[in-house]
Symmetry: C2
Subunit: 162 residues, 2 copies
């Protein structure tokens, strides 16, 4: 299990890949984002997108799925308070294969809760052409290692607590 102390600036994690199908795009959008360019292939053709595209909420949810399966399943994750920025940079279309990546920008212990901290990170999805289709910036809340290494105010590692 990875804890807050196992993350540091500059780390990058490949999260695997997933191919998205027309049926799933339409199914998700019928429930959550039933705009014509997400649910109706014919209407989508005459939209500015020229064809059916995935809801941005679907794309973001696919990224989250990859993040959990590719990394968080083995992290003492405690959730998150929100998203600082999300960009849907290119349309996601049926049969696109999306590849996920997480990059750690920084890490800090919580000032309020001694048992946890935040990692500031960027999530990205790329399609099969290498185009970046999604960017998400946020801070993930992660538990500190119980009885683990403590860090002095100056930032130097202190001895193990036992």
């Amino acid at each position: 299990m990875r804890y807050l102390e196992d993350f540091s600036e500059g780390q990058s994690f490949e999260l695997g890949e997933e191919t998205i199908r027309e049926g799933e795009i339409i199914e998700f959008a019928r429930r959550f984002d039933a705009q014509p360019f997400h649910v109706d292939p014919q209407a989508a053709k005459s939209s500015i997108y020229g064809g059916l595209i995935a809801s941005g909420w679907h794309t973001a949810s696919l990224f989250m799925g990859m993040l959990v399966r590719g990394l968080l399943h083995d992290v003492a994750s405690m959730g998150a308070g929100g998203i600082d920025e999300m960009r849907w940079l290119k349309p996601v279309r049926p049969d696109d294969t999306l590849r996920g990546r997480l990059t750690v920008l920084g890490q800090r212990p919580s000032t309020k809760h001694p048992d946890r901290g935040l990692i500031n990170c960027v999530g990205e999805l790329f399609n099969q052409n290498g185009d970046r289709v999604l960017l998400i910036r946020w801070s993930a809340m992660i538990a500190r290692r119980p009885g683990g290494v403590t860090v002095t105010p100056a930032g130097a590692p202190a001895k193990e607590r036992t």
Copy 2:
């Protein structure tokens, strides 16, 4: 059908309400965010949340569903480029009834595309106790009215084009 010109600063739209059930929370999270506090009621009890909570991506998607059914179904919506900020302010739990609201902060024509513009807006969800559980800020892309009212640089409405 509403176009860009039909939106202005300070407008507020009530988007209806929806009750979220444990089964849906678990189903969504199994597919997209299978962290223990989203998929396992027993494990969730011993988490910092004290019980099962909805994935933030599920909550955001529920908001989007309300926005489409409550407003966008009758708007010349062209999608969005992303989200400027999203906050999951309180946990969303099984049987919570969520009420949605959209507030328009401003409106501007696109400088690149004469056929469209952006409305800057804030979306909110409130639970049955009146607690705000979700806040989303973003700019929605909306078509301008075809052959509609033009606005002079000074902001005064010009005569109808025909």
